[in-house]
Symmetry: none
Subunit: 227 residues, 2 copies
């Protein structure tokens, strides 16, 4: 089987080199480019199997690049790399069509897992959305931000991931076990208690809208309900 081709757009040479080498050590064929123009050019010529796009770039940002890629290819998996504090102003009212995102700093393991997940499961339907409405709230998973009318709250990474998982399964029963596996990769006792803590936090953050609730189903899991 031919090596999987990765298009990697990153303007920081130091980080870029590490990531590139790390992916190459796992038998990916990586082309790293530093800006949007080169990215599009490379994409059209070589049709990579997956794209990893840094969001913060000189010139075209990663979202713009993604949108341009989506015009010619609906299916190729796209992963965004975001730095939490930089993107405030950039991320406004766009629809870019990414499939996953990863926050800087990230471990190589994490990136590899995400890359493999997207490659494995074939054409994906779920795309990252910048703005998700949860009742009266706006949730911006890329920014780890939860807005309600004029106010806005920063979520931590865990909080944000948990809310994402809940939202992806809203109005269904979600097994506690599955949440634990998604967030911590195992379902030991301590992680389990940890989850309780985050559930409490999210309930608190979401308490202003009573049509949104996290219902406990004891011994089974939760049901994230948005009426």
């Amino acid at each position: 089987m031919a090596a999987t081709k990765v298009l990697y757009v990153e303007d920081e040479p130091f980080l870029g080199q590490i990531v590139k080498e790390s992916l190459e050590s796992r038998n990916f064929k990586v082309v790293m480019v530093v800006d949007g123009a080169k990215a599009i050019a490379y994409f059209n010529e070589h049709k990579p199997d997956i794209c990893v796009l840094d969001v913060m770039l000189p010139g075209k940002d990663g979202f713009t690049i993604a949108r341009e890629i989506r015009q010619v290819d609906q299916d190729v998996p796209i992963i965004f790399v975001t730095a939490r504090n930089q993107t405030e102003d950039v991320v406004k009212g766009f629809t870019s069509g990414g499939n996953d995102y990863i926050r800087k700093p990230f471990s190589m393991e994490e990136l590899i897992v995400r890359v493999n997940n997207l490659l494995k499961s074939g054409p994906r339907k779920e795309k990252v959305q910048e703005t998700i409405m949860i009742g009266k709230y706006e949730f911006l998973p890329l920014l780890y931000e939860l807005r309600l009318e004029k106010t806005s709250r920063k979520l931590s990474h865990r909080e944000s991931t948990l809310l994402t998982v809940l939202n992806e399964n809203k109005n269904q029963i979600i097994l506690r076990k599955d949440i634990l596996m998604k967030l911590w990769g195992d379902d030991s006792f301590f992680n389990s208690r940890n989850l309780d803590v985050y559930i409490t936090k999210l309930r608190d953050y979401l308490k202003e809208d009573t049509s949104v609730s996290v219902i406990t189903i004891k011994g089974i899991g939760y049901q994230f309900t948005v009426v």
Copy 2:
């Protein structure tokens, strides 16, 4: 509505029988077969709504069966049952076209939740009614909430499920046994006493409206009457 048809492939007769009966108690129509050849034959003839495939089987393993099913049906949900706890297996499961997997040993609850989730997310869209009027009460099964005028009470999972079952059969005689099977999956003595407790609770919650009542039919069951 016709019962959901489940194709269940399992070579261990003891486990198989338990799972089969448990699913049947939840109103699934289950056909259990013990090997791949029979599975494919049954599939083609009866077009089940969902497949539960044990991975470890004599002859064709579950993955192979899944691939063969996928050649004729892209959409039918497939759940793997695996004893092995290997990431490799999980990956193999998804690449064989599975939609979910469950590890042995598993609880019936877990299986039921996974089956229902897959059925719900599929093409069939049975909308849960958001507000059900029960006499003067409003029952919101999604929110596990029972309202009366300005007041509102949160129900637990069991309470809510029981009320749903009663309501679905209102003004008819419901067999005690049927309720027990729906809520607990079996009708042992202890669950039976448990049901009595929940009946008492619901009667208490519903006592403000005398036109709503849970009538006992001794030795048979109940009749949930809403005039």
